[in-house]
């Protein structure tokens, strides 16, 4: 490749930040000291280009040390990794957490998505505007910007603090003062992150340890039965493990409900090398269950990944976690370190001669990177644009190799299946939806939180578990499955929250988000926020979604603000092209919630 770089040079601090991730440059060719031999022989070439997957980690390093990515910093990264600057710039500008222009180093990302809107995000934003100035414009050291769902809807309104020079932090039940003091004050140490404000209710194995065992102590995890499933899996052999998963009837919890056993088998049957990818990008508005699992039970995620690796024949796993989850990132990183020390990851897992290791990768603010093929591109150092399928990940996934990608909750289910057997697992729940499910209840409920129930509970029962709506309020609508899901009305409370139960009323379980709206909520603005979400989060690759999400938002706005004539028809036509013509699930579902809201009269009631 004929690489032409820019002329800008990095500052010493920027160079240090990059070198911390990539190591010291080993020749003049990649920005190090020029050695005598460098004048005669080029080193690197392919071996350096193959490090492109370190692009995003290197960008993160600069962003979190300098607060933005200057030409000099990007240029240095490009030199180190042999990436053309234009391509690298295309990558940087894809992510909301990365900035290519100078901005204050301490940024509050203020969620005003569906659940936080219900919890007063509007007032919070207005107060911050008074205290800090308009969004994005803060001068000096601090600023604030609007954010889509931060995966903390149980603690709405939520704010993510991106703090260059220190470590990031998230605050729940945010108030103007707590945001400002979070921006200007001392950031709490990770160790102080506690679980006291966590509402979880365990009706099964997935949350059994949460809030009881320390998430930071491998000894505790093992004492509570941890790593028995991996030992058992080693005894059973790979195919028996896959058979057990198949027998369990487990289906993916990431939204698409694909049979997990079938996916594992396909990867195992493909020629290696193979990869395991755990999808912890969790960005579907209203969804926060994977965060709770990763924060509170990180060893279980790691153990399940190791079992998956053993079953499909992969020696390397990647855990991709969304960039706005600082505590979960810290705890998972720590757990991976401990697991390595105790021989539960590495070249000789449990002393059984099996190799498996995990690399933790942070996203950088892009909902689309939860789509499995966009996630691969993100890890590989490209723009997080979904790939055209086929080929499917089981044939050609990460680095072009057969890849098993599973949601965090899906993986968490592997442990009870191996420990208790697939048959017992399948006996829980309903025939079409086996096992237990983590439901994320938020919005106008008394006790927002993650509730684990055996499949079969109705929407009404879930609502009751969360304490129902507040006294004197009436239930208006429920958003099931997140922004990609649908609105249902109180007459659906008897519907079982199962794949088949929700499917029968034209809704879908999606990620397990259940966002509740009482009669005080202005539904048009909620529906409008969803349309805005899809416009903002479209990767921009395909016309139906890139332009369709904009036109949908515009037509919806006219439907609400007037003139409404003909807008419903237009919305239907836009919905059809997005559903039929888009490349990926984002565009294909970008109209679902809006369509259901219009059908139920939650917006444009009279038309």
């Amino acid at each position: 490749m004929d690489l032409r770089l820019m002329t800008a040079e990095p500052t010493a601090a920027e160079r240090d930040a990059v070198d911390k991730v990539l190591g010291e440059p080993d020749s003049g060719w990649v920005g190090g000291l020029r050695r005598a031999v460098d004048g005669h022989a080029a080193v690197g070439g392919r071996s350096i280009r193959e490090r492109r997957h370190q692009l995003l980690p290197a960008l993160h390093a600069v962003q979190s040390s300098a607060g933005w990515i200057s030409q000099g910093a990007l240029n240095y990264i490009c030199r180190r990794l042999t990436v053309p600057p234009a391509e690298a710039y295309g990558v940087v500008t894809f992510y909301a957490m990365l900035s290519t222009t100078p901005r204050p180093p301490r940024v509050a990302h203020v969620c005003d998505d569906v659940s936080c809107a219900v919890a007063g995000a509007g007032g919070l934003k207005a107060a911050l505007e008074r205290k800090l100035g308009p969004a994005g414009l803060g001068t000096g050291e601090v600023t604030w910007i609007r954010s889509p769902c931060l995966g903390m809807c149980d603690q709405a309104p939520a704010v993510f603090l991106q703090l260059a020079g220190g470590h990031d932090w998230a605050i729940g039940s945010a108030e103007p003062d707590s945001v400002v003091s979070g921006l200007v004050g001392q950031t709490p140490a990770f160790e102080t992150g506690d679980s006291s404000d966590l509402h979880v209710s365990s009706g099964g194995p997935l949350l059994a340890r949460v809030g009881k065992e320390s998430p930071s102590d491998l000894g505790d995890y093992r004492a509570a039965g941890g790593y028995s499933a991996l030992a058992r899996a080693f005894d059973m052999g790979p195919q028996a493990v896959i058979d057990e998963i198949t027998l369990s009837g487990l289906t993916g919890r990431g939204g698409a409900a694909f049979p997990t056993g079938r996916k594992w088998q396909a990867v195992a049957d493909a020629a290696g090398p193979r990869y395991v990818v755990a999808n912890g990008d969790e960005s579907e508005p209203g969804t926060f269950k994977d965060r709770v699992l990763m924060e509170e039970d990180p060893f279980a995620v790691i153990e399940a990944m190791a079992i998956a690796g053993w079953a499909v024949g992969a020696e390397k796993g990647y855990l991709y976690i969304r960039g706005e989850y600082p505590l979960a990132t810290q705890r998972l990183g720590d757990a991976i370190e401990q697991a390595r020390v105790y021989g539960l990851l590495g070249g000789n897992v449990l002393g059984r001669g099996v190799a498996f290791d995990i690399e933790l990768r942070r996203g950088a603010g892009a909902y689309i990177c939860g789509e499995e093929t966009a996630l691969f591109n993100s890890i590989e150092g490209y723009r997080g644009e979904p790939r055209s399928k086929p080929p499917y990940p089981t044939e050609r996934g990460l680095f072009g190799q057969p890849t098993l990608v599973n949601n965090i909750e899906t993986l968490a289910n592997v442990l009870p299946i191996i420990n208790g057997g697939g048959q017992a697992f399948a006996a829980t729940g309903t025939p079409g939806s086996t096992g237990t499910k983590l439901f994320c209840l938020s919005g106008s409920v008394n006790r927002p939180g993650v509730y684990e129930v055996a499949f079969g509970a109705t929407l009404g029962q879930l609502l009751d578990m969360a304490g129902g709506v507040r006294p004197g309020r009436r239930l208006q609508a429920i958003l099931v499955g997140g922004a990609a899901g649908s609105f249902v009305e109180p007459d659906s409370l008897d519907v079982p929250a199962t794949f088949e139960g929700l499917g029968a009323i034209g809704a879908s379980l999606g990620s397990g988000a259940v966002v509740v709206f009482d009669d005080t909520v202005e539904m048009p603005s909620i529906v409008g926020r969803i349309a805005e979400f899809f416009r903002d989060e479209s990767c921009g690759q395909c016309v139906p979604c890139r332009v369709g999400t904009v036109r949908q938002e515009e037509a919806l706005h006219r439907l609400i603000e007037g003139p409404p004539d003909g807008q419903v028809g237009l919305l239907n036509e836009i919905a059809a092209v997005m559903r039929d013509g888009s490349i990926c699930g984002l565009g294909q579902t970008a109209a679902t919630a809006v369509q259901s809201a219009v059908a139920l009269g939650l917006v444009g009631g009279a038309t």
């Binding site: 710039y89 894809f94 055209s388 989060e537 016309v543 904009v550 515009e554 036509e573 039929d580 013509g581």
Partner: protein, 275 residues
């Protein structure tokens, strides 16, 4: 490659498993529209105007990249297909200036597209970027087909001077930090405007003549010749008006260069006209 039998619009068709749906349909004489597809580039799959309906598939599939499989049941003009094509044309037509996109009016007619239904909506309008003497980048006309990025990158030039930048409706084609082309990696091969389907990338000569109203396609001839500069032997298609060379293109089906050139063949013809 092995022969397979598929059904196209109700008719059984014998084809080969290494062909795409588009290639098969073209062999059958069916006219499937394309915008982002070009024979000499890797399909980018972005415009979605070529979609067809396949039995058993929930969403429509892009004919330009999907390979045929035995037993496929394909509908090339079903109601869903026609609606998607109409909407793609309306979505583009209402957000992008398609005035220099060849044949787009016929396509609009064929699918009954009326982009003015979305009048008043957001557009990608912006002033043309004129930062060099050889070609103009008028991104108000860009449909983001990715062709120029591919031609500048792995599909031909391997220079990687431009990339898709930003996300969603804000995504644009740009150099790093929007540097002017002469300050970027660009080597002025012109392969990007050679593949641009909308006139967003346009040689300066053509841009200025269009502005002056002197660009007259009816008065133009195209002459095929061989580039005189080096031994590769690239074919040139010289567009000539009033006995003046206006631009150099290259035939896509040329087996050496597949339609791509370097700066010499692309722009090195001024001396022919020097007095």
């Amino acid at each position: 490659m092995s022969g397979v039998v598929i059904t196209v619009d109700g008719r059984p068709v014998e084809t080969s498993a290494d062909l795409t749906i588009l290639e098969t349909c073209r062999e059958e004489g069916l006219d499937i529209p394309t915008l982002c597809f070009l024979e000499n580039l890797t399909p980018a799959n972005t415009c979605r105007i070529c979609v067809v309906e396949i039995g058993g598939s929930r969403a429509l599939v892009p004919a330009c990249s999907r390979r045929v499989e035995s037993g496929m049941q394909i509908k090339t003009e079903s109601e869903r297909v026609r609606h998607t094509r109409m909407m793609v044309l309306e979505l583009l037509g209402s957000s992008v200036d398609l005035s220099l996109t060849p044949l787009v009016d016929q396509l609009m007619d064929r699918y009954g597209a009326a982009p003015d239904r979305f009048d008043g909506g957001a557009t990608v309008e912006e002033a043309p970027t004129i930062d060099n003497q050889l070609f103009v980048r008028d991104y108000a006309k860009c449909i983001l087909c990715y062709k120029c990025v591919q031609a500048c990158g792995v599909d031909a030039q391997n220079t990687f001077a431009i990339s898709v930048v930003g996300r969603g409706f804000e995504a644009r084609i740009a150099t790093e930090y929007q540097l002017a082309l002469p300050d970027s990696a660009c080597v002025f091969c012109g392969n990007c405007f050679g593949v641009c389907p909308t006139g967003a990338l346009i040689p300066t000569t053509e841009y200025e003549m269009r502005a002056a109203g002197t660009w007259d396609e009816d008065a133009q001839t195209v002459t095929r010749t061989i580039c005189p500069y080096c031994g590769v032997g690239c074919n040139l298609d010289l567009v000539v008006q009033d006995n003046r060379i206006l631009k150099a293109l290259s035939p896509l089906d040329h087996d050496v260069t597949s339609g791509h050139l370097c700066i010499k063949g692309r722009f090195g013809w001024q001396h022919v006209q020097s007095e």
